[in-house]
């Protein structure tokens, strides 16, 4: 049972020192400093990993920015030259110099423009490539993760990892990099120029760095916390949103709207506060930087004046200083924007890297054993199962051999372990002890693609994907021809109603198959399984929504289809159970009865009693 207490239970879930690993730290609002540092280091690692393949392109971008900045520096010089020498010369009847200056200025402007243009395109491409790789990694990883993970981690969270968290990184790549490069460059350049002009005054300017560094560290910490807040809040909004829209029927029928409004208002409010907070931190930071910049300008002026008066400093140098100091602090705004985008992206990457760090409990083998032609013999060898180490046993140690071609029905009350046993066969879970073998090969050493060709499970959640009926059936075997798909549909009795749809097999099933009734969806899911044609078929309450005529069709089809293949059936209709070759009655995780239906009915066990009660109910 993967259950979580509704409030406050999460704290008890993980051991303290491991609480930041994987996705565990996600719901924690205020992480302590050490954990925060670890999380940030983790997301920095991911960022570095993502950027590494683009090192060359990034260096190229940096070079472009450097050249661009140098070229732009020439502009003011040309203007000065034009006014100081060009215009007087032109007045003397020698317009050449002026023409050169004006032409040169235009050329410099064009060059700077072309450089900027290529920089924007280059970094845009890098950014998009990084995002594509990240999206792919998240998607693939979420697909790799085991069912047990997805049962705990709601879909809305995965969605927010793959969407809004990725968007946060996009912002950083689109706007941050430019600002970062440019501001860093001019900081560096101006520092050098200042030191070259006059070291003592330059040291005054650079001593402004001390409060600046402290301030920046404060800002990083605060904005890190603020953005951790926004990422958490938006994820909750997404979860709430997704659940509401997926359950809209229940929401409306049970007047959940008002309660939902209250919940959304609360979540929305938290997100708003987190955003306001983040913007407030930014406001405090940028304005403090301004103060430092302006104050150091005043200091330079005052001290510079004394030194000029004392003859230790040229007037021109001081003039240049004042101009440069102003330009020195301008990039800090851009730097602040970068830090901001970076904080937001880091907070997002914290969550993404957490998801990526989760290891699937059901793992793909590194060196898979090929199955060859699958016969379908299934053996449980000393298998036991519990959901997590330390939790109670769901299935105590047992052995079971199912020869190839046998149809086994699993019978037992809710919670007896039928589904768990079925899921072990389909390798949704791995046993905690022992092994499940298919044709003598441990399922854990079979490549997933091969295993899924051999074993298919149909559950009662017959999820339909966006697309046509044809697409949805063909999911069982994407290589199937249209004829094969239609044949599969005919076999399970879906052909009739599918043809009656407006566009037959090409009809769009609409969201979650909303166009079809529950029974029809189930038949489509069945057709899917028949098309897949596996050696081992696992049916977990797969016929619950069918009406009697359809069920009869499915049952007929089942009898033909199951004739030569191994099958595990969990059904709540005894009629379905009776087509099995063998019945296993489970109680509290143990097989308490095992035999052909006839044997068991003839005996005095639970199944006989059940059968008798059922017969009585029919009269």
């Amino acid at each position: 049972m993967t259950a979580v207490r509704d409030e406050g239970g999460a704290t008890a879930v993980a051991a303290q020192e491991e609480s930041w690993r994987g996705v565990a730290a996600e719901d924690v609002e205020d992480v302590d400093r050490a954990t925060g540092a670890k999380l940030q280091a983790r997301s920095r690692r991911l960022l570095a990993e993502l950027l590494r393949p683009h090192t060359r392109a990034a260096v190229l971008a940096l070079v472009i920015v450097v050249v661009e900045n140098l070229v732009t520096l020439a502009g003011p010089l040309l203007i000065a030259a034009a006014i100081d020498t060009g215009v007087p010369a032109a007045l003397d009847g020698r317009p050449d110099a002026l023409a050169w200056c004006v032409g040169g200025y235009a050329a410099v402007a064009l060059a700077a423009t072309v450089l900027r243009w290529s920089f924007v395109r280059l970094t845009g491409r890098i950014g998009q490539d990084v995002l594509l790789v990240l999206r792919e990694r998240i998607f693939r990883h979420a697909q790799r993760l085991s069912i047990s993970f997805h049962e705990k981690y709601t879909s809305g969270k995965v969605i927010s990892r793959a969407t809004s968290d990725v968007d946060a990184l996009q912002d950083l790549l689109e706007e941050g990099l430019d600002g970062f490069f440019t501001s860093l460059l001019s900081l560096l350049g101006i520092s050098v120029v200042l030191l070259w002009l006059d070291a003592p005054l330059a040291l005054v300017v650079l001593s402004g760095f001390v409060p600046l560094v402290l301030l920046t560290r404060w800002f990083q910490r605060r904005s890190g916390a603020a953005y951790r807040g926004t990422r958490g809040a938006i994820a909750r909004i997404i979860v709430q949103f997704v659940e509401t829209m997926n359950g809209i029927r229940a929401v409306q029928a049970f007047r959940r709207e008002r309660r939902n409004r209250a919940i959304m208002a609360e979540l929305n409010g938290r997100f708003r506060d987190a955003n306001t907070d983040a913007m407030g931190v930014m406001a405090a930071y940028t304005s403090s930087v301004r103060v430092i910049g302006n104050v150091s300008l005043a200091v330079i002026l005052a001290w510079g004046a004394f030194r000029v008066a004392g003859g230790q400093l040229e007037l021109g140098v001081l003039a240049a200083f004042t101009l440069y100091v102003r330009r020195f602090y301008d990039p800090f705004d851009q730097l602040a924007m970068f830090t901001n985008a970076y904080a937001s992206a880091t907070a997002a990457l914290e969550k993404i890297s957490g998801l990526l760090e989760e290891e699937p409990t059901v793992r793909e083998p590194e060196d898979p054993t090929p199955l060859g032609d699958v016969r379908g013999a299934v053996r449980f060898e000393g298998v036991e199962f519990r959901y997590a180490p330390g939790s109670p046993l769901v299935l105590p140690r047992f052995d079971l051999t199912v020869p190839a071609g046998q149809t086994v029905a699993l019978v037992g009350a809710t919670g007896a372990g039928k589904s768990t046993l079925a899921k072990l066969v389909a390798r949704f879970y791995d046993p905690s002890g022992g092994a499940v073998l298919l044709d003598g090969v441990d399922l854990r050493s079979v490549a997933d693609a091969e295993l899924r060709r051999a074993v298919v499970m149909v559950t009662q959640e017959n999820f339909l994907f966006d697309g046509s009926v044809l697409d949805n059936i063909a999911l069982g075997r994407p290589s199937a021809t249209r004829e094969e798909v239609e044949a599969a549909a005919r076999a399970v009795g879906a052909d009739g109603f599918v043809r009656a749809l407006p566009e037959g097999y090409d009809t769009d099933v609409r969201k979650r198959g909303g166009r079809l009734s529950a029974g029809q969806r189930q038949v489509v899911a069945f057709a899917r399984a028949f098309l897949a044609d596996p050696a081992v078929l696992v049916l977990d309450e797969a016929t619950s929504s069918l009406d009697v005529p359809t069920e009869r069709l499915v049952q007929d089809a089942l009898e033909t289809v199951l004739a030569d293949r191994t099958a595990f059936i969990i059904a709540h209709r005894l009629s379905t159970v009776l087509i099995a070759d063998r019945v296993l009655v489970l109680d509290d995780g143990r097989v308490v009865e095992d035999g052909t239906p006839e044997e068991l009915i003839g005996g005095e066990g639970r199944f006989a009693a059940l059968h008798a009660a059922w017969r009585d109910s029919l009269v």
Binding site: V291, T414, A500, E541
Partner: protein
């Protein structure tokens, strides 16, 4: 989904109702920005004076007041900087939150048929990334769009005042901006819109990949869907890169224009000086002003980009918010007699799905008398679920009417109607919340005792108590960690917890196993006593709970009678209900 796209300005005007309540702080923030710019402009001027005056003249006594002024202006600039961001922070977040709340409320009110048509990822991307775009616009771009335009206009004015010729040159270089913004509208906005739509589609695939994870795992089709995801992600990437290309080209033009303007001014200026119509001082001033205008003009590039992205985000937003809520309560609701007797009648009911000519129901007449249980039987896809949806108005009839105690359900206040009618769906929809919350859902003032009672009726109390935290256990999204039978029992408990007069149950026993079916059947019998109920049934055991059975064939009620009557007389019914069970048992 994409409609005839309207102009950016017209689309953005629709933001006004949301901006209006926060117009004062927005305006103040603009003022602060302007003043900060002025301070920023003032500081170098004073610096100039310090250098040229006291320092050059070695007159240190005059220094302190000027330095004081620099510090003062510097602090004022910083304070205004702070004010600019601080003032706008809350309003911008407010606008976003309010728009999101409105979208969410509207979606909750929109009829089920709307939700069937719209991909959930498209809805979600509107609620998240599109609204984030709006917040950024309000919090940043809007202020600068206004302020920078003002600065540009002022700058141009100053240039004209300095020298009409200089002004004309600058204006000539500014005019292409108009053409540029038109290009932005036609080119950039189209790509921006495409990228936003593709992001929505991508969200849909992500959502399906997670919700359908069991099917994907069971068939090993993860790679298949991954292929689709990658294709779409690549498409999104190309759109984003196309966006960057358009943007880069436009930005390049924006950078080069003011520079060419300055070059032009130099050339014209020289001519002017030669003519004697212009002084060198004026030329220097003009070039300085033009240089100062460079940033505002440069910034127009990304401001236009942001504005256009915002416009298409707003457009996408209103596509949903403008969708009419077709199922609403009447202005003057009718009232039901007290106590509600629960007399349900279908009178000549027709139903066709929106946008489809095919009628699912073609004249259903059916009466469920107070306290009576009627089972509805029909082939898969015959429209039974549709019939049940009409009572709580999850869908509306296209013709005819459904009444409760003689009042058309469309004349009742929606909340009241859904209070009177309790529903259980075939596929129980559970939320990631506690058991209590899932059972009570929207019913007000439900205490634990009521929930327990409902659970007991649905035979769910025992397994709920066995959960780790009992009633407080958070059951996973869609209740995935519960078995089908357990989920169905919770859905049943939910249907009865509000003590409705009318119960509409869509095959409430389908997922129960043989062990619990009998138990829940017994429970249902208790529930149905004294309540009017319409129960969709697939099997005899459920039918036997009913007083009468109605057979739905070809969108009409073909026969009504008791189970035994119909078995004896009705061919269709025999075909539908003569079960395998009976065949096997026979």
């Amino acid at each position: 989904m994409s409609q005839e796209s309207t102009s950016t300005a017209a689309t953005l005007r629709r933001l006004w109702p949301y901006l209006k309540p926060v117009r004062t702080p927005i305006a103040l923030s603009m003022v602060a920005t302007l003043l900060a710019m002025l301070c920023g402009l003032g500081i170098p001027l004073i610096t100039q004076r310090v250098v040229d005056g006291p320092i050059a003249g070695r007159d240190l006594a005059a220094l302190p007041p000027l330095i004081g002024l620099v510090v003062l202006l510097g602090c004022a600039e910083a304070a205004l900087f702070y004010a600019r961001r601080k003032l706008i922070a809350r309003p911008a977040s407010d606008v976003e939150a309010r728009m999101r709340a409105e979208l969410y409320h509207h979606l909750q009110d929109l009829q089920v048929s709307f939700h069937d048509r719209w991909q959930s990822g498209q809805l979600l991307s509107r609620a998240t990334s599109d609204l984030t775009q709006v917040r950024r616009f309000v919090g940043f771009s809007l202020v600068f769009l206004v302020v920078n335009t003002l600065v540009m206009a002022t700058g141009l004015g100053v240039l004209f005042w300095l020298s009409p010729a200089m002004g004309a040159v600058a204006l000539a270089c500014t005019l292409p901006l108009l053409a540029l913004s038109y290009l932005f509208e036609t080119k950039f906005k189209v790509v921006a819109r495409r990228a936003q739509d593709q992001a929505g589609d991508l969200t849909t695939v992500v959502e399906e990949s997670v919700l359908g994870i069991r099917v994907l795992k069971a068939f090993g089709r993860g790679p298949h869907l991954t292929g689709r995801f990658l294709r779409q992600a690549r498409e999104l990437r190309s759109s984003e890169i196309a966006k960057v290309k358009v943007f880069a080209a436009l930005w390049a033009v924006l950078i080069v224009l003011p520079e060419l303007g300055i070059a032009g001014q130099l050339a014209f200026g020289a001519v002017g000086i030669a003519d004697g119509t212009l002084t060198v001082g004026t030329l220097v001033a003009a070039v300085t002003v033009s240089a100062y205008l460079r940033w505002p003009i440069d910034s127009i590039g990304w401001l236009l980009a942001e504005t256009n992205s915002t416009a298409s985000a707003v457009e996408r937003y209103f596509e949903v918010v403008d969708a009419p809520v077709e199922i609403t309560g009447p202005e003057r609701p009718g009232s039901l007699p007290e106590p509600v007797r629960g007399h349900v009648r279908f009178e000549g009911v027709h139903f066709a799905h929106p946008g489809s000519a095919h009628e699912v129901l073609r004249g259903v007449d059916l009466e469920v008398r107070p306290g009576e249980t009627v089972a509805l039987v029909g082939a898969t896809g015959s429209g039974k679920t549709t019939v049940t949806a009409l009572v709580p108005r999850l869908a509306d009839v296209t013709r005819g009417r459904v009444t409760i105690d003689g009042v058309d359900v469309r004349d009742l206040e929606l909340g009241r109607l859904r209070e009177v009618v309790g529903t259980a769906f075939e596929e129980p929809i559970l939320f990631s919340a506690s058991v209590t919350e899932n059972v009570a859902l929207g019913v007000d003032g439900v205490d634990e005792a009521r929930v327990r009672e409902a659970l007991r009726v649905a035979r769910a109390e025992e397994f709920v108590d066995a959960l780790p935290w009992g009633l407080d256990t958070r059951i996973g999204e869609q209740g995935l960690s519960l078995s089908g039978g357990q989920r169905q029992r919770l859905a049943l408990a939910r249907a009865v917890v509000g003590r409705p007069a009318v119960l509409v149950l869509d095959d409430p026993l389908s997922a129960l196993d043989v062990h619990t079916e009998a138990e829940v059947e017994a429970a249902l019998r208790r529930v149905l006593k004294g309540v009017t109920a319409l129960v969709v049934a697939h099997r005899p055991s459920t039918v036997q709970l009913a007083d009468r059975v109605a057979v739905l064939v070809d969108g009409r009620i073909a026969a009504v009678g008791t189970h035994t009557q119909l078995l004896a007389e009705d061919e269709v019914y025999r075909h539908l209900l003569a079960t395998l069970d009976e065949e096997v048992a026979a």
